[in-house]
Each structure stands twice: as structure tokens, then as C-alpha cells.
Symmetry: C2
Subunit: 359 residues, 2 copies
């Protein structure tokens, strides 16, 4: 079997977890659930079936300190810093340049760094099933999450022919990738069946992926090859700045998955939560008898179904249901549950006002 390489994409600067997430410590570095950060949990899931020296992380220099602090067991040379975020396709392409140098026949598993998945066993089995398809079919494989409700916040993948063999985990040829739908469309997908949530998890042979880049994004392909020649040289950082800094910003979904033919889907039935807002963190935590969730010191009086997270100090809540209170460092958020997607507006306002001490 080919070597498995993992790429964890950790460059995101998610703003939905403000004030806990900050420019230098976005969501993936936070202990949102449990004692480890989401990134550390992600590394842990991959360590189950691949050696740590095969795990690459792409991030950016802003996050270097916290990233190195959280990944003491990973070789430093596996931490790749984008000079500027360019969405998923260039990011994956860059990591593929490193992996190909190690082993051109390797299989790469690409994963977001900030999702919550607790069933590690089923996760491993699902990924290994995807690795098998990637090898057998020379395909680009995505892991699709069985939809729980007609979500409008995720892209969907529509499946075609069922190619599940003796395997317990279902496998399909993919018909198409579709962008985030409106409510009616999402309901239609669920009624029709055969649609999965796009998890952002991809599996492919490095060589197969690079063929696709060459075909569907030839300019990027040429630039990546130039960058690859300089890996290990003293001039690498400068080369990366110059060339990578100028590539087109594009997602793998839009750049490849919506065009390529050899796309497969493996059904992901493990628990999965992309933790898109404080509301989803409330949902995944254990509640007390009043439906309250507490991290840090809190007192609830006449308050139900509320969420309090305080880094230090006490938060006391009186006479309010369905609220989220998050205190972190120099900022405190008080938000009606169900409005937590508007946290982004706070961050936008702070940015536009140049109040960087709160970002």
C-alpha cells in the first residue's frame, strides 16, 4: 500500500468565535470542546493511521507561534506557511509539492483543521475506505456527510452509481458538486436522496491530483512546479512570497471537483460538526438540568438554555434565557442564541475602525 500523507489546512482566520478566536489564535487553535484544540484533535485522528512525519500543516506566519506551540511532536519542516491565503486549491497544491518530493506514489488525505469529529474509529475506517478507492480507481475521493437536516450553510455532493463492494462503508461515483443551496433547494436534495454534505475532506494519489491541477488550473500548476524546485533552498521563502503571492485564489471545489470526471464519494457516518458558530458549540456541549452550558466560573439565576464561557473571572447571568456570553481577554460577547452568526459583524466593525487590540 502507498504511503499516506495528511494535509491539515489550518490557515483559516475564522471570525465566528470572536472574542475567543483572534487573528493570532483562530478557531482551530482553540479548546472549544474538551482539553485539546480542534487542530490537535485533528492531528490525533490522523495519527491513528499515519506516522506524524507524514502529517503536513499549512498555516500562515501570523499563527506560527501558536501552531508550533501546539504541535511539539511534528517535524518543523512539515509546517508550511502560506505568505498569503489563497483558498484551498493552491494550498493543497503547495502541500502536494512537498509530498511528491517524498513519495510520488503517495496518497494524500486533505482535511480542515477545525471540525469536531469524536468517533475516531469510524473516521479512520472511512478515510481508509477512501484511500482504497483513490488507489483502485485513480480517483479524487471526497468524504460526504450524511445530511441530518436541510442545511443551507454547506455545499452538497450529489452521488451517481453506487460502487460499494464488500466494504461496509458506502462508496459512490459522484455526479456533481453544488454550492450552498437555499432552503427550498436543500429540502429538495433531502427528499430526492443521494445528496451529501461537502465535508472538505478529500483523498487522492498525489500524482492523480497533480494531473487534475495540470488539466484544470495549468497556470497554478506551472507556478507550483517553480516553487517545488526551490524547496529546501535558502531562497525558498522569497520564491514562495513572489510566486505563491501571485497565484489565483480558488477553491478545490470550484477549481477541480466541479470539472473533473474521476470523482468518488465515500459516505461519512461518523458524527461531524463544523462548529460554525457559538450556537453549534452550545449544541455539542452537555447541558445541566436547566439547559445551561458553562466553561469557567458562572452563576445562573433565572436563566435557561444559556451558554457561558469565561477565560478568567466570573460571569453572572440573571433573568435571561437563550443567550451566549463569552469573555476572553479584553473582550466580552453577549449574544442572543440564534444570532451568533452576526458575531462576524462585530469583527468587521472592529476591523473597519482599526481597533486591532480586539482582533
Amino acid at each position: 500500500m502507498n504511503d499516506i500523507y495528511c494535509l491539515i489546512m489550518a490557515g483559516g482566520s475564522g471570525t465566528r468565535f470572536w472574542p475567543k478566536s483572534r487573528v493570532k489564535k483562530p478557531k482551530q487553535f482553540l479548546n472549544i470542546v474538551g482539553d485539546r484544540s480542534l487542530l490537535q484533535d485533528t492531528i490525533g485522528r490522523f495519527s491513528a493511521f499515519t506516522p506524524t512525519e507524514n502529517i503536513y500543516i499549512v498555516s500562515n506566519k501570523n499563527q506560527a507561534e501558536v501552531l508550533e506551540g501546539q504541535t511539539p511532536l511534528l517535524p518543523k519542516e512539515n509546517l508550511i506557511y502560506e505568505p498569503v491565503g489563497k483558498n484551498t486549491l493552491p494550498c493543497i497544491g503547495l502541500a502536494a509539492m512537498f509530498a511528491e518530493k517524498e513519495n510520488p506514489d503517495g496518497v494524500m488525505v486533505v482535511s480542515p483543521s477545525d471540525h469536531l469529529i469524536t468517533d475516531e474509529k469510524l473516521f479512520s475506517e472511512t478515510v481508509l475506505s477512501a484511500v482504497n478507492i483513490a488507489n483502485e480507481k485513480d480517483g479524487i475521493v471526497t468524504i460526504g456527510i450524511t445530511p441530518q437536516y436541510p442545511a443551507t450553510g454547506y455545499g452538497y455532493v450529489q452521488t451517481d452509481e453506487d460502487i460499494t463492494g464488500e466494504n461496509a462503508i458506502k462508496q459512490f461515483k459522484v455526479r456533481r458538486f453544488v454550492e450552498k443551496p437555499d432552503k427550498n433547494t436543500a429540502e429538495g436534495y433531502l427528499n430526492e436522496g443521494g445528496f451529501y454534505w461537502n465535508s472538505g475532506l478529500f483523498v487522492f494519489k498525489v500524482s492523480v491530483f497533480l494531473e487534475a491541477v495540470k488539466e484544470f488550473a495549468p497556470a497554478l500548476y506551472a507556478d507550483l512546479r517553480k516553487i517545488q524546485k526551490d524547496i529546501g533552498n535558502q531562497t525558498f521563502d522569497q520564491t514562495l512570497d513572489t510566486i505563491y503571492g501571485a497565484v489565483e485564489s480558488i477553491s478545490i471545489d470550484y477549481g477541480i471537483m466541479e470539472h473533473a470526471q474521476n470523482i468518488y464519494l465515500v459516505e461519512g457516518n461518523f458524527d461531524w460538526n463544523d462548529l460554525g458558530s457559538w450556537e453549534s458549540v452550545y449544541q455539542v456541549n452537555e447541558k445541566d438540568g436547566n439547559g445551561n452550558v458553562q466553561s469557567g466560573e458562572a452563576i445562573f439565576i433565572g436563566a435557561k438554555n444559556a451558554f457561558i464561557d469565561t477565560d478568567q473571572g466570573l460571569v453572572a447571568l440573571i433573568g435571561l434565557d437563550d443567550v451566549v456570553v463569552v469573555k476572553e481577554g479584553n473582550a466580552t460577547l453577549v449574544c442572543k442564541r440564534g444570532k451568533s452568526e452576526e458575531v462576524k459583524k462585530i469583527v468587521d466593525q472592529l476591523k473597519s475602525e482599526g481597533r486591532i487590540e480586539y482582533l
Copy 2:
């Protein structure tokens, strides 16, 4: 005209302004409205018509540091520290012992330290009108606040004969003091007329007051005389601890005003607010176009009629109307407006759990 002495009672440990009010810095020491503390505002009102060396403050040792810090212009010997709080009658009696030593013919004005009164001119005129009655009639005079609504949170004073002379400010003989009424009773008072809110402001000749103490609280009177003998001696603190520590705790209303005959009332038409809760602080502050009040750094998104007070750092409020958020030091309160009287429950809970770092 006799010398005017002022006694500001500043020993309260008000818990309704937690987390801004703490054991060592209760309400009277807070800048709740404007740049000065309520105590400093109170001193300022009296400085308009009496020299600072005639202003006494009774407080307790817990508050000594903040009290001295806030009163740099007052003689240190005018700061009197109760070894333990004994309600208003012993407190006033104690101050009277000091004032009598200075001038047995003096008139004393007794005032709470934590009320908000902004019309200083009318306040002065009203107090001086009360001083006149106290002198002319050898009476104990209270200033009654013209009721704005049938409040159940204040005691009332029912007036009798109108003795207003040529003075612009109305003056009455008092029929009786009554305790905080229920809603129906309060409404009855307002319909009937002739009832005023008990402001806690009293004016009397020291000699007249001490006669009343002698008549209605003879044990206290005897103890106060013992304490007075030791004023200026090295043993004073110990004498105070022993004797004052053992006197009965009783209010001037209950101990004297409900019994004495020579009681008068001067009508107070100045603005007056006892700031009994965060709700009242919201009410007295200027609002922005959305009815929001802000002290410190705050962002409101989809939030109306809300109050944010933060000592440092930012508070962002999303999608909630009618809330109070107060961040001070190591504690943050988030409270539905209208529930702010329940803040006391937080303090009670913290006390019972011994979490003194938050008290």
C-alpha cells in the same frame, strides 16, 4: 446663625451594584453618574454652604483606604470609623458626640452618601430652609421628597399642619412616619395627598437631637456619653470597639422619628434618585437613538434599550434588548432589565460559598 455641621453616612455596603460595588468599594464610592463618586458629589453639595472642616463622614475600616483617597480635602479627624455597622441612630449619635464637642449649639444636617441629586442650588435652599425650622422650632426636621409615583421601595412621611411662612419652600408639621407600604397603600397615599418619600435627610440642633436620644433611647444615650469622654484619647478606638460594638442596632426612623412630637418636614422638590439598582442608573443616564447607554467601550448590534458599563475592555451586544451588562475587574454581570434587584442574590450566593475574591 449657628454653625452647620454635616454628617454623611457612608458605611453602607450596598450589594445592588455588584460587580461594580464590592466590599471595599460600595456604591457611595463609585462614579455611577459623571466623573465624581456619589460620596464626592454629596460632599460637594454640602461644601456649598458649610466649610469642609464641619463635614463628618461615618464609615468603616474596610473602606478607610478608598474613603481617604476620595476625600483629600477633609481633615482626617472628621472621618469616623464604626467598628461595626449599627444602623442610622447610633451612627448619627456617634457623630453628634463629635459635633457637640466642637459646638453644642450647632445644627447638624444628616445625609446618605449614595443618592443622586443634581440641582445643587435648590438642594441648598431646601436644606437651609430646614436649618431655619430646626433653629426656630427646636425641631427635628426631615426633608420629604415629593412622590413621583406610588413607590413601594421607600418609607413615607405624612404631613400635618402647613407652617410655610413667607418662605418659597413648603414646611409642615409631621403627623407620622410610615414604613415601606405595599402597592395599594402607596396608591392610597398619593390619592390622599400630604405624603412624602422619606429621603433619609435630617436636620436638627445637636442639643435637640441628643435630648430625643436621651428620652427615646436612654441606653444608647448613656453609651454615647461614655464614648464621647474618650474622644481624642489613645484608648478611643478600644472604647469604641467595646461600647459601640454592644449598642442596639436601630434606625433613626424607628428609634426617634416614629415617637418624637417635634418633627417637621420641608418639601424637597429637587431631583432625587436613590439609585437603588442598575435599572435606576440606566434611567438617569442619557440614551443614544436606540435607547442604549454606554460607559466604556461597547458595540451594539440589533440591541435596544440596553446598558453597558465596562471598566476596561470591550463588550459587544448582539440581538438583545433591555439588558444590563456590567464588567468590573474579575466579574461580569449580564442581567435582564427589570431583574436588576436580583443582583443581591448573586452576592448572597457568593457569600454563602465563600468566594470572597468576587465580593
